[in-house]
């Protein structure tokens, strides 16, 4: 049990145990000896008293003076503790009696003094002997002397034990109290002393606890000497070293963290710089491309000689290729900038496959490839435009890298998911290179970087888009037996066939449609103006918002306003649209055009419910949008 005791309890035990043993021993010894003394004294007193009575009554007994004896006894009876006195002569005949002698104990004849102890009394016998006086002439002569002492009688004295018992009890209690006092005193003293021992250690323990809790600056007060001092000094040393080590480690961690942060910042800065470069580059490229596209569209509308027409077609094809490249760059840029917000919804797969087949079968045929699409009745949860983009990139990649054979687009349900696969029997990809091909500008078989093989952004875009849509991208491939690219999307329950048919791509008549355009870039403004005029629209153009407001003021409300997003006079296209709608009513249709790839314009346009077209705007796309706006407007007008 002691093993689990604390220092204080041990010290108390060590201090108290000897004191207890000593106190118990001393108390027992002294109480016992005191009681023995007391009894001895009591006996002595009784004997002396009996002797005194014997001596005092000697003459009265000699002279047989009973009255005298009684008087003496009555006097003696007043002594404390005397219960009774009895005097008999040598023949045992009672001479006198005083007080009470317990009758149940027979009296004895006594020739010598002795005593008996009873339960409540002590009985003393004392012979009454005549006083000896050496007066004989022949006192020296034992023959003459005779031996008889001629006893006169006997005194029987009963002394009460009550007082003795009282005294003994009192002694016992006193001894017990003293013992208790000593015990209590020694325990108190030991506790007090033990504080002196345990307190420094407890303080050290508390300090160690605080140090352990992380307060490394804590120190122990060094008090006392010897082991206590060594302990305190040792703990302080330990704390010192801990603090040193801790500070060192903290410093190193801080340094490492700072370094990491610096690198991360650097990397982020580099990334941002890259994105900004791409955004700026694509924006700056887009303005002329936008204008160029519009001009070529307008040019092709006109009557030309055949040679010129061929030239115009070649210019258009080159511009188209350039636009495709720029689109890819723009996509990457937009994806990296986080500007693309997927519009995820349940989507039937088959229409997308049909459009892909439609878009690519001519190109496939040109390259003597068979493009097959297996029908797929399933629906998936995805953004239809982006998913179609993924598929078109994969198919275009397959066509580009397949020399002969076929390309198959097929669906395969996998539990909750549907995997749409694009298979080719092309050259295949080495296992080592399978990760490489998803990086930007990586083209495995195009060291000469032939433009016909694209920029090397297609698969990079695919990977970014699948990540954005939370689809799983897979690749199975081996050199010689072709590649299988798969995109897994979560399946969705089929819904009723969409009532809204895909936008009618056939251009309708835009004759006399009133369109107001606003762009601070003169080239872009001019090209758009020309295109719209070629389409037969009634166009009002301005390079500044105030100018447009001035031109439109007082005139009829335009059917559609097309405005660049970023304008002069610190205004945006949205501001202008707001102003115009304020002037002409909220039915005013508007289209935003932006060369920015940043997320902000797209978000604000979406929030305002205004369609946003990125530069360079393909004329067909613009026309389709205008057409759709006008047809949507009709029922509203009718109503």
């Amino acid at each position: 049990m002691i093993q689990s005791w604390g220092i204080r309890a041990r010290v108390i035990l060590a201090a108290v145990a000897p004191a207890i043993v000593l106190a118990v021993f001393m108390t027992i010894y002294y109480t016992h000896s005191r009681i023995a003394d007391l009894e001895e004294v009591y006996l002595d007193r009784g004997r002396a008293f009996a002797r005194q009575i014997a001596s005092a009554t000697e003459y009265a007994v000699f002279s047989n003076n009973r009255e005298d004896i009684r008087r003496l006894l009555d006097g003696a009876r007043t002594e404390e503790g005397v219960r009774g006195i009895y005097i008999a002569d040598t023949s045992g005949q009672e001479l006198a009696r005083s007080g009470i002698l317990s009758a149940d104990v027979p009296l004895q004849a006594a020739t010598q003094s002795f005593n008996e102890a009873f339960k409540q009394t002590l009985r003393f016998y004392e012979p009454i002997l005549p006083t000896r006086l050496d007066v004989d002439l022949l006192a020296f002569d034992e023959v003459q002397q005779g031996t008889s002492t001629q006893q006169l009688g006997v005194v029987v004295l009963d002394l009460s034990r009550t007082r003795l018992d009282e005294q003994r009890d009192s002694l016992l209690w006193t001894g017990l109290s003293a013992l208790m006092l000593v015990l209590a005193g020694s325990v108190l003293l030991a506790m007090r002393l033990s504080q002196g021992v345990s307190q420094p250690i407890r303080k050290v323990a508390e300090a160690v606890g605080r140090i352990g809790a992380g307060r490394l600056h804590e120190r122990v007060d060094i008090r006392g000497g010897g082991s206590l001092k060594r302990l305190a000094v040792g703990v302080n040393d330990m704390a010192e070293r801990l603090q040193g080590a801790h500070d060192d480690m903290t410093r190193r961690i801080a340094e490492a963290t700072a370094e990491l942060r610096a690198r991360k910042d650097e990397a982020e800065r580099a990334d941002i710089a890259k994105s900004r470069f791409l955004a700026a580059a694509s924006h700056d490229l887009r303005q002329p491309m936008h204008a160029l596209g519009l001009f070529i569209a307008e040019l092709s509308e006109k009557e030309h000689p055949d040679s010129t027409h061929r030239l115009v077609r070649q210019i258009a094809a080159s511009a188209e290729a350039m636009e495709n490249l720029l689109d890819s760059l723009l996509d990457i840029s937009r994806l990296d900038a986080g500007a693309l917000q997927p519009n995820i919804q349940p989507t039937p797969v088959q229409p997308m496959l049909d459009r892909i087949a439609n878009d690519f079968h001519i190109w496939a045929e040109e390259r003597n490839l068979r493009l097959r699409v297996r029908p797929c009745p399933h629906w998936i949860t995805t953004d239809p435009l982006l998913f179609e983009r993924i598929l078109s990139n994969l198919v275009s990649n397959a066509i580009r890298y397949t020399d002969q054979g076929s390309i198959l687009i097929a669906c395969r349900p996998e539990g909750e998911f549907l995997r749409v696969e694009v298979r080719d029997n092309g050259r295949g990809i080495e296992t080592d290179a399978q990760e490489l091909i998803f990086q930007e500008f990586v083209q495995l078989d195009n060291p000469e970087r032939a433009r016909s093989k694209g920029l090397g952004l297609g698969l990079a875009i695919v990977r970014r888009l699948t990540q954005l849509l939370s689809h799983r991208l897979s690749l199975r491939s081996g050199p010689g037996w072709g590649s299988v690219f798969g995109v897994s999307a979560r399946r969705a329950p089929p819904e009723a066939p969409a009532t809204i048919a895909p936008a009618d791509r056939e251009p309708g008549s835009l004759q006399n449609v009133r369109i107001a355009i606003l762009d601070d870039d003169p080239l872009a403004l001019e090209s758009l103006y020309s295109l719209l005029c070629a389409w037969g629209c009634d166009v009002t153009a301005a390079s500044m918002p105030s100018a447009l407001m001035d031109v439109l003021a007082g005139g009829p409300m335009p059917d559609i306003v097309i405005t660049d997003y970023r304008l002069q006079e610190h205004q945006t296209g949205l501001d202008v649209i707001g102003s115009l709608r304020h002037a002409f009513g909220h039915r005013l249709q508007a289209i935003l055009i932006s060369g920015d790839t940043a997320a902000e314009p797209a978000e604000r346009a979406r929030a305002a419910g205004i369609p946003l077209l990125h530069k360079p705007v393909r004329p067909a796309k613009l026309r389709a949008l205008v057409q759709r706006m006008l047809t949507r407007e009709v029922p509203e007008d009718a109503s």
Binding site: F62, P130, R132, L133, F140, E142, V143, Q144
Partner: protein
Amino acid sequence: MLLCCMAGSLMAAPTVYLVLSGDADAYQRTAQTAADTLQARLPGIDTVRIDIDALDLQVLQQDDVLISIGTRAAQRLSQRPDGQRLICSLLTEQSYNALAPAAPGQRTAVFIDQPVSRQLALIRTGLPEWSRIAIVHGAESGDFVKVVKASAPALGLTVSAAGVSSKNTLYNALQSVLASPSILLAVPDPNVFNNFTIQNVLLTAYRHRSPVIGFSPAYVRAGAVMAVYSSPEQMGLQAAEIAVHSLRGGVLPDAGHPAYFSVSVNPHVARSLSIELPDAATLEAQIRRMEGSQ
């Protein structure tokens, strides 16, 4: 011839043996006085002082003289076959009378008891105004009482005596004899007057305002008003004188009371009892005068 004379004188010179009953001081004083007296009276006499227990009876010569000192020595020597002359000293008349009988002329004694006449003389001279004598006695001292009763009237004294027995206690006897003012005459009877009774006797007598005549100086010191006695030296002296007389060819005298005596007085007790007492020397002288006149 010289040798013969020397041998004859050696052979003829009797030895005096002082046989002690013990080594008590009284025995030694008696023997010392006797030896000194013998040497003084018979220079060259051989005296041998010996304890009774150490005495070898075989070494005794026929004409040696034995002086027994104390009762025990007297008793032991009386039991030997007759032969040497024996002078008993320092014993009571009562004890001497109890000894085994001896051949006539072979034994004598000096009692330690004083003669009744001397005691009565002391009473008469010391307390002339008192006329009554009270005596308490045991069975064995009846003779003494008879003698007192016989001698008292001549001195104008009356005697009242009471015996102590198992029926009559000492106290009762004292009460009866001291009923009227009397002089209590202590009897040298150990059954009545002994070391253990003396205090109570003295107290009783004092309560009756009766003077007590003791028989030893210690008695006087304890509270008796006066006493006549013989000291050990006086006893030794008388025994030696008898021996000298016998060695010189005299016949041994009859056993008798001591010739030499002393008187002791307690003036404090006398004053307590309002008694005018002459001093001890005066009394002694008067007693001698009275004895001389007889």
